[in-house]
């Protein structure tokens, strides 16, 4: 469990961050320049806050009031950097055991063979970092940080330097980490797809402060946070479970609080928990359920709020069996339909708009 409350001035930029990160993956999300990396560096002890307090599992790492400022090597944190930062003069094995060798035998909580196995790096052990691909390097870097048996794993955009194929290759490994090694992860990112895939808790950074923090689904469904979650990314996130596949038509059925959602084929076993992103602009609203329509998802819902964003667009938040959906419609449509909070409506979602990238398998809740 990480608790921090720090302030730091960097030139004209003022950081003032309060954050708590518990079990599972906490994503620190924000656009570049919002101060995410500064926060993680302060936790690691690579930069020093002007004032504040940082605590991990009850151990004080930094406290300006009592003058505590532990050196990085005494903080017992794992840090996976954006660039792999592997030691070029050591083999993969030498890199992996680098931090582990600094620990007394009793403190080595993470098993070498398990890490090698989970990360699939057994065949690389005797190679040099220079001979590895970008994805392999980052896997070794993750293993190296894990083997130092950290109290918390800090990851600073570990996928940002990789192309999308490598990224897709690495994401499942990271998703596995938190639950397999029971180490909390603080994951810094500006890529919403990574956050949706990995995060249990989301902290939105903006201009040097944490603007909002909470469970991912809750924050993503809040139109007020849209400037931070991203205009293009705008949309709700719904937790669901794979109910069935229909191979003949290439579709999958997901069940969630509001009923069944038909999506394009999801390559996941029946019963797995998923997180589905439904873009706000892909939701249409009907007062009566339309008949003989191509749209496969027609879900009864109740309007919870109607908020104009400008003269042209209106944000409509619906509650669909308790799950928040968020649609964006034109102000004209809203006026002609007379949408007001409390109204019973139907949310229409084309199955094809929920593509593979929008359905992410997530770990069973711990």
């Amino acid at each position: 469990m990480l608790n921090l409350s720090v302030r730091r001035r960097q030139g004209d930029f003022q950081l003032d961050v309060d954050l708590a990160a518990g079990a599972g993956v906490t994503a620190l999300y924000g656009r570049s320049g919002s101060g995410k990396t500064s926060v993680i560096n302060m936790v690691a002890g690579l930069s020093r806050p002007d004032s504040g307090r940082i605590e991990v599992d009850g151990k004080v790492l930094f406290d300006s009031a009592s003058g505590v400022d532990l050196a990085p090597e005494r903080r017992r944190l794992g840090y996976v950097f954006q660039e792999h930062r592997l030691f070029p003069h050591l083999s993969v094995r030498g890199n992996l055991v680098f931090g582990r060798n600094r620990l007394a035998a009793a403190e080595r909580a993470v098993d070498f063979d398990q890490v090698v196995d989970v990360l699939g790096i057994e065949s690389l052990l005797d190679r040099r970092p220079a001979n590895l691909s970008g994805g392999e390097k980052q896997r070794v870097a993750i293993g190296r940080a894990l083997l130092a048996s950290p109290r918390i794993l800090l990851m600073d955009e570990p996928l940002a330097a990789l192309d999308s194929a490598r990224k897709a290759e690495l994401l499942p490994f990271i998703a596995k980490l938190a639950r397999q090694f029971a180490i909390p992860i603080l994951y810094v990112s500006h890529a919403m797809d990574e956050v949706l895939r990995l995060a249990d808790t989301l902290a939105l950074m903006d201009d040097g402060r944490v603007a909002a923090a909470g469970p991912l689904e809750q924050l993503m469904a809040d139109p007020a946070l849209r400037p931070l979650t991203g205009r293009y990314e705008a949309g709700a996130v719904v937790s669901a479970m794979v109910a069935s596949h229909d191979a003949a038509y290439g579709v999958s059925r997901l069940s969630f609080g509001g009923g069944t959602l038909l999506v394009s084929h999801a390559d996941l076993p029946v019963g797995s928990k998923v997180r589905v992103r439904i873009h706000a602009r892909d939701i249409a609203i009907a007062i009566e359920p339309p008949e003989r329509v191509s749209i496969r998802n027609v879900l009864p819902a109740v309007v919870t709020s109607v908020t104009p964003t400008d003269a042209f667009l209106v944000d409509v938040v619906l509650s669909c069996g308790g799950a928040p959906l968020w649609g964006q419609i034109t102000a004209l449509a809203q006026a002609q339909l007379g949408l007001v909070p409390g109204m019973r409506v139907h949310a229409l979602i084309k199955a094809l708009t929920i593509a593979r990238g929008d359905v992410a398998g997530i770990s069973p809740s711990p």
């Binding site: 690691a44 002890g45 690579l46 050196a71 990085p72 090597e73 903080r75 017992r76 944190l77 794992g78 840090y79 950097f81 660039e83 930062r85 030691f87 070029p88 003069h89 680098f98 931090g99 600094r102 620990l103 040099r128 220079a130 001979n131 190296r144 940080a145 130092a148």
Partner: protein, 230 residues
Amino acid sequence: MFTMTPLEIEALGLSLLVSSWAVAGSLPLGLACAWLLARRDFPGKVVVDGLIHLPLVLPPVVVGYVLLVVLGRRGVVGGWLFDWFGITIAFTWKGAAIASAVIAFPLMVRAIRLSLEGVDRGLEQAARTLGCGPVRTFVSVTLPLMLPGVLTGVILAFARSLSEFGATITFVSNIPGETRTLPIALYALTQTPGGDAAALRLCVISVVVAFAALLASEVLSRRVQARLKA
């Protein structure tokens, strides 16, 4: 067949002895100075930098004379050393080593500093987060990564020491078997009527030794580079 005369063997042996000690003795200080200049900001850094580089631009005779004034038996430090410990530096091979070390020092510091500046600080940060203190980080990450530069510095300084003449002759003079290194023996021969043939032989020996040193440095640094990359 080229067989060396006792005089040549003596001069060569002395040159190697003096240069080895000059390099070995100044390496720790060279590392410290390079680290200070590359990694630390402190008031007067420009002055320290200038002082270290001064022997590079001063006439070696000036350096030799200053050493004599300071370390000679009646010098500030030399007198104290003699009175308290009975140590004499001037006009001994140890003095020759010190003179060579001072002259070669800027070359060594430059090479080491350059390689230190090339070391990615991010790797040192990574080592710190993995539980290494500053000293351990330096020994296990920084030093191996700057090894090619250190090697270059050492060989450069060694070669420069081998060729040291001006400061040496001023500080420790020309004493056979004590301070008569290759260049000094060569100079003495050129001043002796009929010494041309012997002088030429010393020239050849000097060239061979210097060239061997450069070659060794090239081979070594290539090997280290390959180890870092492969």
